[in-house]
């Protein structure tokens, strides 16, 4: 009884201390030294970035880094939230609206589910920019522009390149069951390749299992001569699966990590389709500030493409340094 009471008190104190700390960075962001000489237009603002990705995803950390770097550069506040469950993602949007932020950046892996929440933000006069996925619905929902990579185009690009490498039967590894964008990439790859594309479902949260699944598939069907992964962590899992299983399959992936870039440099991965997601964090914040201060819109009604760029053995060395610092 006694210790329980003590624990409650201690936990309460701990929470108070934590919130005390957390107030720090947000409060500081407005007071950058550059602000002293900057023009008066750079009034502070608050922006919300709400994605469909859970915390700790390497890809989305780069987006977050981009948005936070832009916030620091412009002296505004950016809060980054993510949740893979569309119900909870739309609640986060509702919340940003009730907090009356100056702009909302949202990724739409499931556009239908976000329609109402995005519509509410637009109706409340809050400018919205969509990023990453859902670009084809962006205008219809009233967003001022979309910043991202067309998944079909990128998938086709990857398929083309794999075809040129002589791949005839491709394994396309899907790592998130609910994500339409991943399906589009595999479809695009099938168009580009012109050969057979098989899909394999794995869990991005369980890479050990993903490795053994890919290995099992390659062992049970030796005619598969190419593997396309859609996530850098899964790419590394696939690399290990190919090596462990003694397969000759060629590997390509979407998106970068430091490990992927090293593997490309070492010739273990043929190429990585790079959508330069740092831009998907940085650009929308820039666009929203331009819109707020000068009513500028970018893209002329078309999405602003951040990719596909390709990282191959030729340019991997230069990109490696940047990937390690979390901006590529």
């Amino acid at each position: 009884m006694k210790w329980t009471k003590g624990l409650v008190v201690a936990a309460a104190l701990g929470l108070t201390a934590l919130t005390g700390c957390s107030g720090g960075p947000a409060g500081q962001s407005g007071g950058e030294p550059a602000g002293a000489s900057a023009p008066a237009a750079a009034e502070a603002g608050a922006f919300a970035v709400i994605t469909h990705a859970g915390a700790g995803d390497a890809f989305w950390d780069v987006v977050k880094n981009g948005a936070e770097a832009a916030a620091k550069r412009y002296g505004v506040t950016v809060s980054y939230q993510g949740d893979g469950d569309p119900a909870r993602q739309s609640q986060l949007i509702d919340q940003a609206v009730s907090q009356k932020v100056d702009g909302i950046v949202v990724s739409m892996a499931n556009p239908d589910a976000l329609k109402e929440a995005v519509g509410k933000a637009v109706a409340a006069g809050i400018p919205v920019i969509t990023i990453n996925s859902g670009g084809d619905r962006s205008r219809e929902f009233g967003a001022i522009t979309h910043v991202g990579q067309s998944e079909d185009v990128a998938g086709r690009g990857a398929g083309d390149r794999l075809k040129a490498e002589g791949v005839g039967k491709l394994l396309c590894v899907i790592h998130e069951a609910g994500n339409v964008g991943l399906d589009q990439r595999c479809k695009g790859a099938a168009e580009g390749l012109g050969g057979t594309v098989e899909r394999l479902q794995v869990e991005v949260g369980n890479l050990a299992d993903a490795t053994s699944k890919i290995k099992a598939r390659l062992q049970s069907d030796t005619s598969v001569d190419g593997v396309l992964t859609l996530n850098p962590a899964v790419a590394i899992a696939a690399r290990d699966a190919i090596a462990d299983g003694g397969s000759k399959a060629k590997l390509a992936t979407f998106d970068l990590s430091a490990d992927v870039v090293t593997a490309v440099k070492d010739g273990e991965i043929l190429f990585a389709v790079d959508q330069q997601q740092y831009l998907q964090g940085w650009l929308p914040i820039t666009f929203l500030i331009l819109y707020r201060d000068n009513l500028n819109t970018v893209g002329g009604g078309l999405p602003v493409n951040t990719g596909p760029g390709f990282v191959t053995k030729d340019n991997a060395g230069q990109v490696a340094r940047l990937a390690e610092s979390g901006t590529r």
């Binding site: 009471k5 624990l7 919130t19 957390s22 915390a55 809060s79 009730s98 499931n110 589910a113």
Partner: protein, 342 residues
């Protein structure tokens, strides 16, 4: 006023309140509210309240049903994924097979009740722990949701419910909003209050309520006393499945699309809310109102963290700390209450 026999004095209103299972949850809810209201003005505004009651409502509907089941001494791990299953059935039938939304929902309800019935039947006939039985159901449903959806539609999300016949009326009843003080509140909040009231009435005022407490407290003794234990347990599993159908329908109508992986992982949140609300993991004790308040605590902690502007990387840590704190406060009050009784 003097009372001759001190046993009579013990039935005072204050003491009776102290002995209620949900008292700890009430104290926890007040503490969590005070904490976040101090952190953020938006949190305590009407708009903020509408924001955090929204997740609390769908969670609460499930938590109340799960609480009844837990009082009856059983678990259901398949409840989360079943919300996805029912939503998928409704959307697929309405958009791919041209059924009216209400008809599609009726089919989904029958399917859900069947799953609940089978869960219950397997548990009472085989005497296997419900933890294992419903874990099996959970995995089977998870696989079927993905497999069947992809086989029928070729994709992992089915949408377009907005264009189906009867969508407008179904949306208004289950997923619409009600304006209160100039702010739109989700109509699901009313469903949640209704479900909580109904469950409380059943538990406290009907014979079925006594049966639930009896089978959860001591199964053998209950049977010996003539309680239809098997029927009670099967009915509880079907109640949970019915609640999953309600929540699945609310979600499908609100978002007009359902992902093949939706609802997975929520089953633990339901159990957490029920436990915060005073249900014992061992059965035989708890309340429906408590579970509803548990859902409120969860909703407040969940959204309060965002309103307070904390770094999202720490989100789960804060959520865990808040939940632990609420549960400890709950236990503290319950122990105090038990000491008073002695």
């Amino acid at each position: 006023m003097t009372v001759a026999d001190e046993r009579l004095a013990r039935t005072g209103t204050a003491r009776r309140l102290l002995l209620r299972p949900e008292l700890g949850a009430v104290v926890g809810a007040v503490a969590v509210f005070t904490f976040f209201a101090g952190q953020s003005a938006t949190f305590r505004s009407v708009e903020g309240v509408a924001n955090w009651l929204d997740p609390a409502s769908t969670l609460g509907i499930m938590a109340v049903a799960i609480a009844l089941l837990m009082i009856g001494g059983e678990f259901d791990l398949s409840a989360g994924v079943l919300t996805g299953t029912t939503g998928l059935i409704t959307v697929v039938l309405a958009t791919r097979y041209g059924l009216a939304v209400w008809t599609a929902m009726l089919v989904a309800l029958v399917a859900a009740l069947l799953v609940g019935y089978l869960n219950g039947l397997i548990v009472v006939r085989t005497k296997l722990p419900s933890f294992i039985v419903t874990l099996g159901t959970f995995l089977m449903l998870q696989g079927a949701n993905l497999g069947v959806t992809k086989a029928l539609t070729g994709t992992v999300q089915v949408g377009g419910l907005r264009r189906a016949e009867g969508y407008e009326s179904a949306h208004a009843v289950l997923a619409g909003t009600v304006p209160v003080a100039g702010t739109d509140f989700r109509v699901a909040i009313l469903w949640w209050l209704g479900v909580t009231a109904l469950a409380t009435w059943v538990l406290m005022r009907t014979r079925a309520g006594n049966w639930i407490f009896a089978v959860g407290g001591d199964d053998q003794a209950a049977r010996a006393a003539g309680v239809p234990a098997e029927r009670t347990k099967i009915a509880l599993f079907m109640t949970t499945a019915g609640a999953a159908w309600l929540v699945g329908s609310v979600m499908a109508l609100r978002f007009t699309s359902v992902q093949a992986n939706s609802g997975i992982g929520q089953e633990f949140v339901y159990i957490i809310a029920a436990v915060i609300g005073g249900c014992l993991l061992t059965g035989g004790y708890g309340s429906a109102i408590g579970a509803a308040i548990g859902a409120v605590i969860f909703g407040m902690a969940d959204k309060g963290i965002v309103f307070a502007g904390w770094d999202a990387d720490w989100f789960k840590f804060f959520l865990g700390a808040m939940l632990l704190l609420a549960t400890l406060a709950n236990r503290l009050v319950r122990r105090y209450a038990e000491e008073v009784r002695r």
